[in-house]
């Protein structure tokens, strides 16, 4: 059996799963530190099911903690930044374009040193051991505990970053070092930004992962635990401690994957209806479709693997702007009212009519229309059928528009609704071949965490010159499968789920950038 946990900003959800069956689930408030909330939610699911803790084989935790901390600039370390690229790149020093406040919170010392590789593997400039050592000493003297190291084309050859790291380790004992090659893709500034962001989270990652560990220890659970990554796959706790940045975006991913699991859909549109927004995502082959544009996090450009999610300003707490004199109107025209984009958020529980307030929200209208039952319906002013129909119709059209924007094929597609505000979508929207709102939809995130797989990923520039495309791609496939196994996948279950080729324009020699990804089920020892 396994336990999936989702530590969100408001709630901590837990599910206990036996194979594909949800044995128990619970929702508890998130606490700070997160430990107590996790313990409360786990205690509830274990207590409900009276399962022995020794029967639990693994615990999977998804969290938005690190994303939120970074965006809010909370608890970040100052970072020593070493870039091995000179003479290239000097026109764009590290952290160029960062928002001032975040830069102030994170920038320690910056060094642009000789190094890096060309696209074909040649060296741009020789590695200069002395300069790296001197820089490391300065970082140490400045008392910086975190260091980010980046070199040109490190995703293809990480040797220089590793050499620099060895020197930094000697000169700055105990420093948390992030190598850009451990994070990702081609695109130097974005990858360097990610490495710096990751380094700034190093201390917090240690604390949070320790707090997960403590919670499990207190529960006497000895099973290994894993943390969800942004692509819906899992990493070991040890890995999460070192690369907390890979959790960014795992929230929407887990809800998408949870929806896939609960419905059995491999390809579908998933709408997570919350209090403030409805997030529309797309499942392809059981995995979230990733965004191709670069992703801004707190105003910092990155090139993460992130789910391509469209947020629509429509949720349970979204305000309905309608003059009270029109509440009982027989006819309502399109100009008479608007929906959102402002939301009551948590104040839904005090300021909406349903909870004794005086603000009309989507929840008020939905309850009045008999689509949901909560709060005190008698407090909602009388709304005419025309008003109810017009508001719910508009909400449906907003969602239909979102579906339409995210769809990738002309035909109708299955639509799955998860999240607490699912009642807003009560009938099959246009563009949907079917509409499902599965059982346990409100804890889809925790379920998504519980069913995470492990993956391997590769991003390389290779040459197809001489007609070797097939052989080159086969090598890439084999390599990416090995990476998935190294990450903990059971070899028999590993499959390559994505190979993408982008020709490098304007270069002869048929240079192509290939990205590949393989996933497999977690191997239980």
């Amino acid at each position: 059996m396994r336990i999936g946990i989702d530590v969100g900003g408001t709630n901590t959800d837990a599910v206990l799963m036996d194979g594909r069956r949800v044995v128990a689930w619970a929702k508890r408030p998130t606490t700070r530190p997160v430990e107590d909330g996790i313990i409360a939610a786990m205690t509830a699911v274990i207590g409900d099911s009276s399962v022995a803790t020794s029967a639990i084989q693994a615990v999977m935790i998804g969290t938005t903690h690190f994303t939120n901390a970074f965006v809010e600039g909370r608890g970040l370390l100052k970072v020593g930044v070493i870039r091995l690229a000179s003479p290239s790149g000097e026109a764009l020093p590290p952290m160029i374009g960062w928002p001032k406040a975040l830069r102030q919170a994170v920038e320690g010392q910056t060094f642009m040193l000789p190094g890096g590789y060309e696209f074909d593997g040649r060296t741009i400039a020789e590695f200069d051991e002395d300069q790296v050592r001197q820089s490391a000493r300065k970082i140490h003297r400045a008392g910086l505990e975190a260091v980010a190291i980046t070199s040109v084309f490190a995703p293809i050859n990480a040797a220089m970053e590793e050499r620099a790291a060895a020197i930094v380790r000697e000169e700055c004992p105990g420093a948390k070092i992030t190598l850009s090659s451990s994070i990702g893709r081609i695109g130097l500034l974005e990858r360097e930004n990610a490495a710096i962001m990751n380094a700034s989270l190093a201390a917090m990652a240690g604390e949070v992962v320790q707090s997960f560990r403590d919670a499990l220890r207190e529960m006497r659970i000895r099973a290994p635990f894993y943390v969800s990554q942004n692509d819906g796959t899992l990493m070991s706790a040890k890995y999460a401690e070192v690369l907390p940045i890979l959790t960014f975006g795992s929230g929407p991913t887990n809800s998408l994957r949870g929806a896939a699991f609960l419905t059995g859909c491999r390809d579908a549109i998933v709408i997570d209806v919350g209090g403030t927004t409805s997030d529309v995502g797309v499942l392809i082959n059981g995995f979230p479709r990733e965004s191709t544009a670069s992703v801004d996090i707190g105003g910092v450009r990155t090139n993460f693997r992130m789910p391509d999610v469209l947020a629509i300003g429509l949720g349970g707490g979204t305000r309905v702007h309608l003059d009270p004199s029109l509440y009982s109107a027989d006819v309502l025209s399109d100009d008479d009212f608007s929906i959102g984009p402002d939301s009551m958020g948590y104040r839904l529980l005090s300021d909406s009519y349903l909870f004794g307030g005086g603000t009309l929200t989507m929840s008020d209208v939905a309850v009045a229309a008999g689509l949901a039952t909560f709060g005190d319906p008698s407090r909602v002013p009388a709304l005419s059928d025309a008003v109810k129909a017009a508001v719910m119709g508009r909400a449906r059209r907003m969602i239909e528009d979102g579906i339409d924007r995210m769809k990738t094929a002309a035909g109708d597609v299955p639509v799955v609704v998860v999240g607490g505000g699912g009642f807003l979508l009560h009938e099959k929207p246009r563009g949907a071949s079917e509409l499902s709102q599965p059982e346990h939809a409100s804890v889809a995130n925790a379920i998504g965490a519980a069913i995470g797989q492990v993956s391997g990923e590769l991003d390389r520039v290779i040459s197809y010159a001489g007609g070797v495309r097939e052989r080159a791609l086969n090598d890439i496939r084999a390599l990416v499968m090995e990476l998935a196994v190294a990450a903990g996948a059971s070899p028999a279950t590993v499959e390559v789920i994505d190979v993408e080729e982008v020709a490098l324009n304007y270069l002869p020699g048929q240079s192509v950038r290939v990205r590949a990804r393989a996933v497999g089920d977690l191997k239980f020892s």
Binding site: A91, L92, I96, E118, F119, L188, T408, L504, L507
Partner: protein, 379 residues
């Protein structure tokens, strides 16, 4: 000799560009790139930093350039994807200019983009800010093209020499090519040897020569286009309508329109001779209409249900249909929902001489060139 037809002179001959202008221009240059030219992210970041440090970007009208002044068209050659990873040193263009001055024995009075389309449209602004010299409101291609001889100066008989190729390491190569086609072939090889990107100064010449041949007003046009789209977006108006109406008021690029609105249902691409060659097939929403666009780095030809609606050198650019963000050929993806916008190019890019250099036949397309506004009845 080709004349520049009645470009409306700017009210002011000198203009200092703001950060907002530069950001607007980035959208405009992406549009004029016809799907090519690469993303201007790193140039934008550098310009932002240059403006923040108090440097100025002085844009002057071509008419304000003295006839005997030395003017240098500038641009980068190489793979946009490589430039995302190996970033510039910042001295490449300056070293090239210094070498040019040494050869010519004359100071460079001003620079301009050899190619307005894509990131090359913006990079000369940096040189101008860095060196404290003006950037001239014109360019050499009027759009983006994949090869360096596809430039109006070559069309109308100017020599590329002396060609100055520089890289981030400090290598400076001066090339005297026997023909402009040879210049392309040799600099292309140099760009590989230099690690996939290099800076090139070619077709430098006198102010008089530039006035004869350069495509005028393309920087201010790019700014105006970006501004129109930005203002429309922020006011909740249709950015495409704003774009088209902005173009209509320009005297050069006046015939523009949305050629198709649909979704990519097939995307086929491969590399041939160092170029990304392929085609995108779009299908209309709820209709059986099909648009097929063939590209070689840039979009070259568009056919609706088998009938040609536009060919190179007229401009064909995909936009995200929601955000009106131009999408380069490298970023095309299956399933994207796009609008295809077509645009007429200035007359000097449509003469028989010009079409021989960068018309449909130069890209192996069989049909004869026909102006986009004639095919689509936009007159």
């Amino acid at each position: 000799m080709q004349e520049n037809h009645g470009y409306r002179a700017e009210a002011e001959a000198v203009r200092y560009l703001t950060l907002e202008d530069v950001r607007d221009m980035a959208l405009g240059t992406a549009f004029l790139g016809s799907g090519g030219g690469g993303a201007p992210v790193s140039a934008l970041l550098q310009l932002e930093a240059a403006l923040a440090s108090g440097r100025q970007i002085k844009l002057i009208d071509l008419a304000a350039v003295p006839d005997d002044a030395l003017i240098a068209p500038c641009g980068w050659m190489g793979a946009p994807t490589v430039s995302e990873e190996k970033l510039p040193n910042g001295r490449e263009a300056i070293r090239g200019l210094e070498k040019l001055e040494e050869i010519k024995g004359q100071r460079v009075f001003a620079v301009f983009p050899v190619e307005i389309g894509g990131s090359n449209g913006l990079s000369p602004l940096l040189i101008a800010a860095e060196r404290g010299i003006p950037v001239v409101d014109c360019d050499g291609m009027g759009r983006a093209f994949p090869e360096s001889q596809m430039v109006v100066f070559n069309v109308y008989g100017c020599s590329a020499n002396p060609v100055i190729v520089t890289d981030e390491k400090g290598n400076v190569i001066v090339l005297e090519a026997v023909t402009n086609a040879e210049e392309e072939r040799i600099t292309r090889v140099l760009s590989i040897a230099m690690g996939g990107s290099c800076h090139v100064i070619d077709y430098s010449g006198s102010g008089y020569q530039m006035k004869q041949h350069a495509v005028r007003g393309t920087i201010s046009l790019a700014i105006a286009v970006g501004r129109a789209v930005r203002l429309a977006r922020s006011a909740g108006r249709d950015p495409f309508a704003a774009l088209i109406s902005c173009l209509r008021s320009s005297s050069y690029y006046s015939h523009g329109g949305v050629l198709f609105d649909g979704k990519i249902v097939d995307l086929d691409r491969n590399t041939e001779g160092g170029f990304a060659v392929g085609r995108a097939v779009l299908e209309g929403f709820g209709s059986t209409e099909r648009m097929v666009v063939e590209f070689q780095n840039e979009n070259l030809v568009a056919r609706r249900n088998g009938t040609t609606v536009a060919t190179v050198p007229d401009i064909l650019t995909f936009f995200d249909r929601e955000t009106a963000e131009p999408i380069t050929t490298e970023r095309l993806r299956y399933g994207q929902r796009l609008k295809l916008v077509g645009l007429s190019v200035p007359p000097l890019l449509r003469t028989a001489q010009a079409l021989a250099v960068f018309g449909p036949q130069a890209f192996g397309i069989a049909e004869q060139y026909q102006p986009i506004e004639e095919i689509n009845g936009w007159l």
